[in-house]
Subunit: 421 residues, 2 copies
């Protein structure tokens, strides 16, 4: 039997992939399922099962409250220190705590406190909604003005226009999502950070769709603040706690607006007056959800072992392959590429557009065993998670989407809205 | 061999205990360990092991992102609905989310928004520190004034003085910890809620040290707002997500200051302008830590099965027994009872004071296999968790503390500070 040439190519690439063995580190129950949604929820590392069993049955079950003195209390800083190695930061500049949204809230307030006389917050129209919602709440409470840079389709990043918008005198904070959640387009961190600093503003990066798939250079770019998610490319588990980064020289100047006891200096002295802990610890709030927290660590360890440069190299090769297949199989059906075609300008997911995207998404899941995800109004996102995604997965995802379109399998699906994240 | 009379008594009480079988629902690895710290971290329910294995290996490992549509997305409201049954609330008035500290922060801001012209927040000097710290941060940011009612030793609750302090014209919010973390003294929820309402203020109860051990009647008392912890008497696991309660008629009036996407109406439409979801959902923020979240549910189920009235009855009998033993064995060594002697005025833990309390605490843990916890400056807390604490546990805790004191076993310990919560 002669294989289709692209499938032959995919198999050859998988056979030569230096990261191929990492796929065995994950639970893969149904090898026929083509999981292209690691950019939403990363797969389960096998070692996380063992780690959680240890945490539940031994640490909680047997050591009980003593667990806090035996590895729980320092988990936020310890795991943060590991993530630091993925974002170009020092080990004492990253902490794992709360959700991305809560961390974003803390750092926006803290940044505005440092520029009290300035009124403007610069962001973009393709930002992830939770960032926009939180900014809107803070702007209302503190009488600040949000300037939304129109990044229109989100595919071409208008860096010059962003730099121009930042130049305003009363700009207090610039905050952008490093890799756009819809298009996968990546901002120029250095140019925008420089522009913010030239304007006397601070910059806060949301790294949720970048971390673990693309090298990030927070220190090199002199970035001030960042937040990010651990349940996507870091494979930390559903809703796993997020991280936040504060450049070392800013840590002592910033105030956490949510002054909880885990951010208190000398916490167990139980003093009655708040005094912030030194360093990143002040950005803790309440007792961290330890089971979800510990699952992050094994996920991060795998990314560190694979190495972010090698992961990026494979990710680029796979998204390039996906685009080749899109052009061949899907473009003739009116499917558009809603991501940058230049690999230097995109992260690790590719969005494909079609007026019937929601129905095509349903058909892929229900009939084709392909799991992408969907973003309104007309985007199907295919995430490449180079720790476990194979080239043949990319091949089958495109080949099966071609089958949906050519056999009109999507037409029987309604446009009822799915509820996946 | 003749048993000491109090041990005989304890065994008889255990033999007659209608809740005794619930102890078998927990992992109890070393039956000689006397765990008296369920008020800090509750024990591991056996069924939680199975539930987490299912959540990790099947829901995350196999269903992957589809888990959100299959029981994850509605977990905060579903588990909140169960907790409602323990705090005298309607099923749609409680939500599980974030930490107690973050929830407290959200509701303090929301309450102050409803009373914008008023400046005063009334609380007490024996409040749990995280509540005080968060109030201090908010008061500073919003130019409010905190009035601390001096509840002095925290043993006798000066309800009249609290009611008087609340009567001030500009009181916006009264917030107290229902069961005091040090002394275990319980506030009169009805009298204080009435006083707050008479003054035109809102009331916010911290139920962390009450829920699961003492009946709470939020609706009956017409309480406005509450928060609470799930890792103590609800056995939800280390740092498990907390809950918040908002009386139904207030829900639509309140604004969550942390406007995250899980609180957004029609979340997955990914609209760009924030519009709060109906009901309690608006008090969500980011993606909830699902593994820690799901562990809460099995813990809550056990409390519901045992029944809060029966648990309270056993708790009172056990704290009474503990006080009897204190009087007999420990008072002669200068150990003081730092909890109310009237069972109607206390929750489910008893604090015992001694100038050498920290060293005695160390000796109990290191030499006696008794685990209480310690609160500065001189309190040893013994928590009774009636789901699994036996009368013989209470007996041995007191008998072994007597041995520490009579044999001066604590004198070799330094006063180095332990780091347990």
């Amino acid at each position: 039997m002669t294989l289709p040439p692209y499938l032959q190519h995919a198999r050859a690439r998988d056979a030569a992939d230096p990261l191929a063995a990492f796929r065995d580190a994950f639970v893969i129950d149904d090898p026929d399922t083509i999981y292209m949604d690691g950019n939403s929820l990363g797969r389960l590392p096998k070692r996380t099962i063992a780690r959680l069993n240890e945490a539940v049955q031994n640490e909680w079950g047997k050591r009980l409250v003593r667990g806090w003195g035996e590895g729980w209390m320092d988990a936020p800083a310890r795991i943060g220190g590991k993530i630091a190695g993925l974002v170009g930061a020092q080990g004492d500049e990253v902490l794992v705590a709360d959700s991305t949204s809560v961390n974003f809230y803390k750092l926006v307030h803290a940044a505005l406190d440092l520029r009290p006389a300035r009124r403007q917050i610069v962001t973009e129209t393709v930002n992830f909604p939770t960032d926009a919602y939180i900014l809107q709440g803070i702007a209302q409470a503190r009488n600040k003005k949000i300037t939304y840079i129109d990044t229109s389709d989100g595919i071409t990043i208008p860096t010059d226009a962003i730099v121009d918008a930042i130049a305003a005198d009363d700009c207090a904070l610039v905050t952008l999502t490093h890799t756009a959640f819809k298009s996968g387009a990546v901002h120029d961190m250095r140019a925008i950070t420089d522009a913010a600093h030239n304007a006397g503003a601070l910059v806060l990066w949301d790294l949720s769709h970048s971390v673990g798939s693309i090298p990030i250079h927070l220190n090199d770019c002199n970035a001030d603040l960042a937040v990010g998610c651990t349940y996507k490319y870091l494979n930390g588990g559903p809703g796993a706690p997020a991280f936040l980064y504060v450049r070392r020289d800013l840590q002592a100047q910033l105030r956490n607006p949510i002054q909880g006891w885990f951010g208190q200096r000398d916490q167990f002295a139980m003093g009655f007056d708040y005094a912030p802990a030194p360093g990143m610890t002040r950005f803790n709030v309440g007792t961290p959800p330890m089971l979800s927290m510990l699952a992050v660590e094994t996920g991060v360890d795998l990314v560190l072992e694979a190495g972010i440069e090698r992961l990026r190299e494979k990710s680029v090769a796979q998204t390039e392959f996906l685009i080749t297949l899109w052009e061949e199989y899907l473009a003739p059906f009116g499917v558009t590429l809603n991501s940058p075609s230049d690999p230097n300008q995109r992260g690790s997911h590719i969005s494909l557009g079609h007026p019937d995207a929601l129905r095509i998404d349903r058909a892929l899941i229900e009939e084709m065993n392909v799991i992408p995800d969907f973003r309104y109004p007309d985007n199907i996102r295919f995430g490449v998670a180079p720790l476990y995604t194979r080239f043949v997965d990319v091949y089958y995802a495109m080949e099966r989407m071609h089958r949906v379109l050519s056999e009109r399998l999507h037409e029987k699906y309604s446009i009822e809205r799915p509820t996946v994240t």
